[in-house]
Symmetry: C2
Subunit: 344 residues, 2 copies
Amino acid sequence: MKNRQGGSTARITIKHVASKAGVSLGTVSRVLNGNKSVGDELRIRVERAIRELEYHPDVLAQSMRRGATRVVGVVIRSLMVPVLAGFVKAAQDVLHEAGYAVMLAGSEGRPERELEILSVLSRRRMDGVIMTTASEADPMLLRARQALQMPAVLLDRHNPTEFDAVLVAHREGIRRAVEHLLDLGHRRIALITGEETTRPAVERVRGYHDAYRARGITPDPRFIRTQSFGADFGFVETSSLMGQNPAPTAIIAGGIAMLPGVLRAARAHSLRVPDDLSIIGSCDSDLAQMMTPPITVVQWDYEKVGKVAAELLVGRIERERDAAPRHVRFPAELVIRGSCAAPR
Amino acid sequence: MKNRQGGSTARITIKHVASKAGVSLGTVSRVLNGNKSVGDELRIRVERAIRELEYHPDVLAQSMRRGATRVVGVVIRSLMVPVLAGFVKAAQDVLHEAGYAVMLAGSEGRPERELEILSVLSRRRMDGVIMTTASEADPMLLRARQALQMPAVLLDRHNPTEFDAVLVAHREGIRRAVEHLLDLGHRRIALITGEETTRPAVERVRGYHDAYRARGITPDPRFIRTQSFGADFGFVETSSLMGQNPAPTAIIAGGIAMLPGVLRAARAHSLRVPDDLSIIGSCDSDLAQMMTPPITVVQWDYEKVGKVAAELLVGRIERERDAAPRHVRFPAELVIRGSCAAPR
DNA sequence: TTGAAAGCGCTAACAG
DNA sequence: CTGTTAGCGCTTTCAA
C-alpha cells in the first residue's frame, strides 16, 4: 500500500483567496497585514475566504519580499551538554513567543565546522544569531563573524565592541571555589579547563590566580590544565594530575561537561571524595547533586542566560539595530556540598 | 559608538554576476546548478565572477522556485533530556551532511504546543520532519499530523501505516528488567512510566506483564504508575509508592528522564540502594554510571536511532516519496550493575 | 479605499 | 549552447 506522504495537494495562494472573496490580491495582502485602509465589508469577505479555504500565507514568499525570515540561528558547542540544552530551551521559549523559529547547529568546538555553520546561517538569511564561538582569537572566525552582517548575541565570549553578549562571572566563581579550598587548607589545587582562546577558560584561570594572590601564595603552574572543554579531557587530565608528584589535593572541573570525567578518573584511581581528593564542579547537575557525597559546584543560571540572550537578540532585531552593543553579566555562586574537605 | 550589525550592504544577486561575466542570468543559473550544457569559456567566466563577487545564491529565492527548502523540522518532547539531545545531535549530523538545516522545536509533551509547532513547521515548508508526538490517540494531533502532508519519521511512536518510524524495543527491555528482578526474588516490582497514549509507556507495561505472565505470577496493579514522563513524576510516584503498604521492593524508572527523581525520592526516604530498594533506570547516563552503586539500566543506542531516523527521512525526501512506510526497530538491553539485590 | 502592476532572486521552459 | 521570458507567492508602490 502506498502512503500519501509528500504534499501533492496544490497550495492555496493569495490568488485563490482573492478570487473567492471577489477582490484583488492587494486587498487580501492588506487584510493579512492588518492594513487599516480596508473597508469593513471587504475585510469581512476576505477574512471569511481565508477561513474557509484554510489559507496560510507562504512564509517563504513573505520572507523574500519583506527581507526578513523570522528565523534565528543558535550555534552552540554541543547539544549533548545538558546545561547547554537548558540554555537553548530557554532561548527558544522566548524566541518562539516572539514569533521566531530556531535553526540549530552544533559546532563541536571545531573552527572549520563553525565557519561552515556561519556560512549556512548567513545564506539562509537568519534574522539574527545566538552563538558561542570556538575561538575568540582565530582570525578566520573573527572575519566570518563580522562578515555575518546580522544581529548577534555572543554567549560567554568577550567581544568588547562588536556584538551583544551574555557573560557569566566565571572569574569570581572560580575565585570563590579556590578560596574555599585554600580555607580548607589545600595548597595544591588543580584547575582543568578549556583552551585559553575562549573567555570562560581565561576568566577561570584569572579567578584562580586572584584567589592565590589575595592570600599571597604562589600556585604551582603544573596544576593548571587548559586545553579542552571536552568531556574526555576531564578524565585524561585528572588521571595525569593524580599520577604526578606531588599530586593535587583538590581538583576543580572548570567546564560544564567535565565533572563526569573527573569523577570517573577519581573512581579509576580508587580515590575517595573528599578524603583523598576534594572536587568542585562547574554548573549544577543531577549528577553533582546525587553523588555521594554531593559535589560542591560553581553554579549559575543558564536558563536565565538563555532567556536574556534571546531577549537581547529580539530587541536588537526589532528595535535597536544600531544601538551600542550591550553586555549582560550573570553571577556565579559557590554551592558548598560535601565533596571538599581538609587535605590529609 | 554605533556598530555595524544589520547587513545594510546590498546583496549581490545573480544579475550582478551575469553582467560582470557578460552573460545572461540563465547561464549563471545553469552554472550554479551544474547544468552540463554550458560552454567551457562561459562557465569559467561565470565561475570567476562568482568568486570575485563572493556571490552566494539566495536560498530563499531558490527554495521558492524549487519548492523545497532543504530544512527539516525536529520536534521532540524536551531538549532538556540529555539523551534526546544525543538523538538530535546524531540526526543533525546526518542531515547536515546531506545538506539540510534543522529547525528545532520542543513540545514539552503538551498537545497544544505540538499542534502549534506542526502548524509552524508546515507553514515554513519544511521538506520533512522527525518527531515524537505527545499523544498517539489525540484526534486533533492525529489530524494535524496527517494534514502535514510532508515526509515524516516518527520517533518511538506507533503508527502502523502512515509514516516511517524508528522504534525502540521497550517491551523486551522492560521484560528483561522485570525478569531480572523476579529472578532475584522480588515480587513487588513497581513500574513508573508515562501516559499510555504513547508507545513507550504501552510497550513497557506490556513487557512488565509479559515477564510476570511467563512466571505465572499475577502482579499487583497498584505498582504500575503511568501518567507522565516528566522528571518530577519519578520523584512523586516513588514517594507515593514507598508510602503505601505493602511498599514495592524494586522500582523501575520507565522513562529516560525519570531516574534522578526516583533516586532523589529514595534518598529523601533514607532508603539504601539496593539493600532497601532495588532500582532500574531507562537509558544509560553519567548519573546511572557514577552513582554508588551504579544503576542497572535498560539501555539502547539513541544516537544510532537518531542517525537512522535522519537517514530514513532523507531517503524518503529525495528518493522514495511514495514507498511504503518503513519501521526500523532497535533493541533494548539490560545492563546489570549494582542497584539490584534480593529483597529482604 | 481599492485595483493594477512592478518586482524580490531565482529556475526552467522555450526559442533560437 | 545560450539568451529571453514567464512565473514562484507575496508586498508595496502608483494610480484611480
